[in-house]
């Protein structure tokens, strides 16, 4: 993990438009953001795009980062918002495709990189994909990014109670979908 002083130094220079300093920040958080965007989308190609999109937005919005939370938490917030917007765009795109494709339309859940994942990883991702986007975001932030509910609430721009409810609802579904008898059939 990057030393805080070093990170502050890079942040300061990035705010002044120094792309080289910002590249250092990207290098430190790129895999974290890529994993988050992959878990949010279930698509490697979309995760690549959304990771880039996240860092571009972060650079453009650096002035709004006041340092009252960890930079990584703020970055997660930017990434989650980018993913939620992506979901909305995808839904609109899917609706248009559905109109044209009629009965032949199939669910747009890409499986790129699937050959690299074990069965558990595929099942988990399929279960995550089935969750409503906001519940998925709540689970990803609290389980994978290990944020507490207050931090996740700040990242998602909602109340702590809402996060708690979303996490509870998501856990209930995931337990049902991932219980041993159902493993291997999460997409039902």
């Amino acid at each position: 993990m990057v030393e805080l002083d070093e990170e502050k130094h890079w942040l300061e220079h990035s705010r002044q438009g120094d792309h080289a300093a910002f590249e250092n920040l990207i290098r430190n958080y790129q895999t974290m953001i890529h994993s988050l965007t992959y878990r949010m989308t279930g698509s490697l190609a979309d995760a690549d795009d959304l990771s880039q999109e996240t860092f571009i937005r972060a650079f453009q919005q650096l002035a709004s980062f006041r340092g009252d939370s960890k930079f990584s938490s703020w970055l997660c917030r930017v990434a989650v918002n980018a993913c939620l917007n992506w979901r909305q765009r995808e839904r609109r795109r899917a609706e248009v495709h559905e109109q044209w494709a009629g009965d032949n339309f199939s669910s747009p859940v890409p499986e790129e990189g699937g050959e690299l994942l074990d069965e558990n990883a595929r099942n988990v991702q399929a279960a995550l994909n089935r969750l409503p986007a906001k519940q998925r975001a709540a689970i990803i932030l609290t389980v994978y990014e290990e944020m507490n509910h207050a931090e996740a609430a700040r990242a998602l721009g909602c109340s702590e109670a809402t996060v708690s409810w979303r996490v509870f609802a998501a856990r209930t579904k995931l337990k049902r979908w991932l219980k041993p008898a159902d493993r291997g059939m999460p997409g039902r």
Binding site: H19, A20, F22, E23, N24, I26, R27, Q30, T31, H34, S35, Y38, R39, L44, A47, D48, S51, Q52, F55, I56, F59, E112, G113, G114, L116, L117, D118, N120, A121, N123, V124, Q125, I139, V143, Y144, R171, L174, K175, L178, K179
Partner: protein, 199 residues
């Protein structure tokens, strides 16, 4: 399944890994897009500059034209109003058309109006020209001493003496030429005696 067992399953699920080369190039790809975006923004701003300049110039020309036309019209209307009401021939024709009935000839935003008496008992006297402005609008009239008239939204009694002193009185103000207005401070009043009309 409890929460910790679920978390264990969730955390055990790895995400697909990109190659080392991908990650080495990733920061540069992002900053290249930043360069491209900022260049595109600058280019758009640069390409918009002549359009913006033309637009601003157009707006400035329109504003100047509007100002000059408005100024010219305002001046023109004021001159016409003064000229019309102070035109002896016009007043003479009005008085001849309605003998002993004309109480006032008013010009305001509605145009020129003649205020007539019910009976033909109006004495012939020297006409008085009065103009009342309240900051928003102006109205002018020609009337005679002793008349109660409505001008500029106010009921006013007009009085004049033999020496040419004119007094305007309402329930809210008192004005006479040569003395300060008492009452409504925002009013601007002008009044003068016109030449006697010989029918």
């Amino acid at each position: 399944m409890n929460n910790s067992e679920l978390d264990k399953i969730l955390k055990a699920a790895k995400t697909p890994q990109q190659s080392t080369e991908f990650w080495n190039q990733f920061p540069r790809r992002v900053t290249s897009r930043l360069h491209w975006k900022s260049a595109a923004v600058q280019e758009r701003a640069a390409s918009r500059f002549p359009q913006l300049a033309w637009l601003l110039a157009g707006v400035a020309v329109c504003l100047l034209l509007g100002f000059f036309i408005g100024n010219w019209r305002g001046h023109h209307e004021a001159t016409a109003e003064n000229g019309l009401l102070q035109n002896e021939k016009v007043i003479k024709e009005m008085l001849a058309m309605f003998p002993n009935r004309v109480r006032a000839v008013v010009q305001d935003e509605h145009g020129l109006n003649v205020v007539l008496s019910d009976k033909d008992n109006m004495p012939v006297s020297t006409p008085l020209w009065i103009k009342v402005c309240d900051g928003k609008r102006c109205a002018a009239m020609v009337t005679f001493s002793g008349q109660d008239v409505h001008i500029g939204g106010r009921d006013i009694t007009v009085l004049a003496d033999a020496k040419g002193k004119i007094i305007l009185a309402s329930d809210k103000f008192l004005w006479s030429n040569g003395q300060a207005l008492v009452g409504e401070g925002k009013l601007r009043i002008e009044a003068k005696t016109l030449a006697p009309v010989v029918l």
